[in-house]
């Protein structure tokens, strides 16, 4: 019941706010025809205008909705952990979508719902796991014409994975355990991170506590439903995905030198004196996911113009993600984040190719600061989009707990 109250209260507020123009006119008329003294009428009309100006400033503010949503989720989670578990599996992020020519904008939201259950089998050098998950992710703009990423992906997946890597101790395990326990309070007592990193205790800890490269391989089988936000276009997709993630924690390893995507950022870190030497890092090695799907188009008027029968087809899919430290400057930690997504129809007919319906690519990147400031840029299109869109966003995320 509370769950329903949350959803409806938020949607109601959006709905009420969208009707404020009519409401203001009605109240103005009622004041005007009230027969009150003209001074009082003018004062009431001014107050009414100020009130609706305040409402107008809130109704397009995604941060207002974010705060309202998070506050409601927190209150309900605190009072009912079961409903809290389900609500916390649903992430909602309100945002403003803007068109490429910046002539129109719309309030909207990104949502992400995921439930996963699995088993893990520890092995000598890592772990093997299996899991089953249901997930749904998408963007919804309240004015769908301004939604540049109008793509909703809902699927069920079964996954097998292997995680390898861990810790390499340079002394006997018991000795390392006891030394770490002794060093911990000393390391915790530091009030300056540079002093800490230069302390003999930190040097001893990093010397006895070495880290192996960590690898994760996963293979999943998935079946799902892809649509645009009003479900006027949809298709089914069944396929498999292979994901590979590797991290090299120590400095100067061969894997960190292979991280060529990080080279420009190694330079920015050196120039801003964030790093004391020019070197790429292995903790930002990109994650790669690739797969093949069998796609069954069900309702797609655009595709139907070029393929009357809406024939099923095979599709290749790729995603590369990358995040690295740009600099620590002006008391801020700044990260660069990027993702590239690519979909290509295998063996597409010349008609489909000429209509630019055989492949889709989408690139999104952002600079984010730990103080909340962010700038983002996205370009391209996802399945169901007619044309490439460029979207810029600039903003500030408030921290509140």
């Amino acid at each position: 019941m509370k769950y329903l109250i949350i959803a409806f209260s938020l949607l109601l507020s959006i709905s009420v706010f969208s009707q404020t123009n009519n409401l203001k006119t009605d109240i103005d008329s009622a004041i005007f025809n009230s027969g009150l003294d003209s001074t009082l009428v003018n004062e009431l009309l001014t107050k009414n205008t100020q009130l609706f100006e305040r409402i107008d400033s809130l109704k397009d503010d995604p941060d207002f909705y974010d705060k309202t949503w998070n506050k409601l989720v927190k209150e309900i989670s605190d009072s009912d952990s079961t409903i809290g578990y389900w609500l916390n599996s649903l992430n909602i992020d309100f945002k403003t979508f803007q068109s490429e020519d910046s002539t129109s904008a719309s309030l909207g939201l990104s949502y992400n719902f995921s439930i996963e259950r699995g088993k893990l089998y520890p092995k000598e050098f890592g772990k093997n796991g299996i899991s089953c998950a249901f997930s749904s992710v998408g963007n919804i703009a309240f004015d769908k014409k301004v939604n540049p990423t109008d793509f909703i992906d809902t699927k069920l997946s079964f996954k097998l994975y292997q995680a390898r890597g861990g810790v390499q101790l340079s002394l006997k395990p018991d000795t390392v355990h006891q030394r770490t326990l002794k060093l911990l309070p000393v390391l915790m007592s530091h009030s300056d991170i540079i002093e800490l990193k230069e302390s003999k205790e930190w040097k001893e800890f990093t010397n006895i506590f070495k880290l192996d490269n960590s690898f994760l391989y996963s293979l999943s089988l998935n079946g799902g439903f892809e649509s645009n936000q009003d479900f006027s276009k949809y298709q089914y997709a069944f396929g498999s995905t292979f994901s590979f993630s590797v991290k090299s924690w120590e400095k100067g390893t061969w894997l960190s030198r292979l991280n060529i995507l990080d080279y420009p950022f190694a330079l920015t870190r050196r120039l801003t004196k964030t790093d004391d030497e020019l070197s790429s890092t292995g903790i930002s090695l990109p994650i790669i996911s690739t797969g093949i799907d069998y796609v069954i188009p069900e309702n797609d008027t655009l595709r139907e113009e070029f393929d009357n029968n809406l024939n099923p087809y095979f599709r290749y899919r790729l995603e590369i993600g990358f995040r690295t430290l740009v600099a620590k400057a002006v008391k801020q930690i700044i990260y660069f984040n990027a993702a590239f997504k690519y979909y290509n129809e295998i063996g597409a007919s010349s008609t489909i190719k000429e209509a630019s319906l055989s492949n889709y690519s989408y690139f999104t990147s952002s600079l984010t600061s730990d103080k909340g400031f962010f700038i983002s840029y996205s370009y391209g299109r996802l399945p169901f989009d007619k044309q490439d869109n460029a979207v810029y966003q600039i903003g500030f995320n408030y921290k509140f707990k």
Binding site: P173, L187, F205, S289
Partner: protein, 115 residues
């Protein structure tokens, strides 16, 4: 809730995240750092990819605790539960290092707590 300064799980969780270059702050400044501020948390990738990154990190933290720091699992806690609990927190951008440390406190028994 335990005192931030006097709880072994808080100290070990902070130390491991620092060693894994997920954070770069002293212990006293680490409590309220959100998961979205850790080095691994790329907000632009798909949920599946973010989860794969989180599993890779949680597996390494688990190895650091058990192999490197001598921690044991609490009674009735499996390694699968301990790692999955970490993954659930790691992929939630609103959770903090304190939340992660509290969960680790529930699942692991650190050296001086083993009696």
């Amino acid at each position: 809730m335990a005192n931030w300064k006097n709880n072994l799980s808080y100290g070990y969780t902070w130390l491991t995240l620092l060693r894994l270059k997920q954070i770069d702050v002293v212990f006293n400044d680490s409590k309220d750092i959100k998961m979205s501020e850790l080095s691994f948390y790329n907000p632009t990738i798909s949920k599946e990819s973010l989860q794969a990154e989180a599993i890779n990190l949680a597996n390494t933290i688990d190895s650091a605790f058990i192999v490197g720091m001598g921690a044991k699992l609490e009674n009735n806690i499996t390694q699968e539960k301990a790692i999955n609990s970490m993954v659930e927190i790691l992929i939630d951008e609103t959770k903090t290092i304190e939340d992660l440390a509290n969960k680790n406190d529930e699942n692991y028994l650190f050296l001086n707590e083993q009696g």
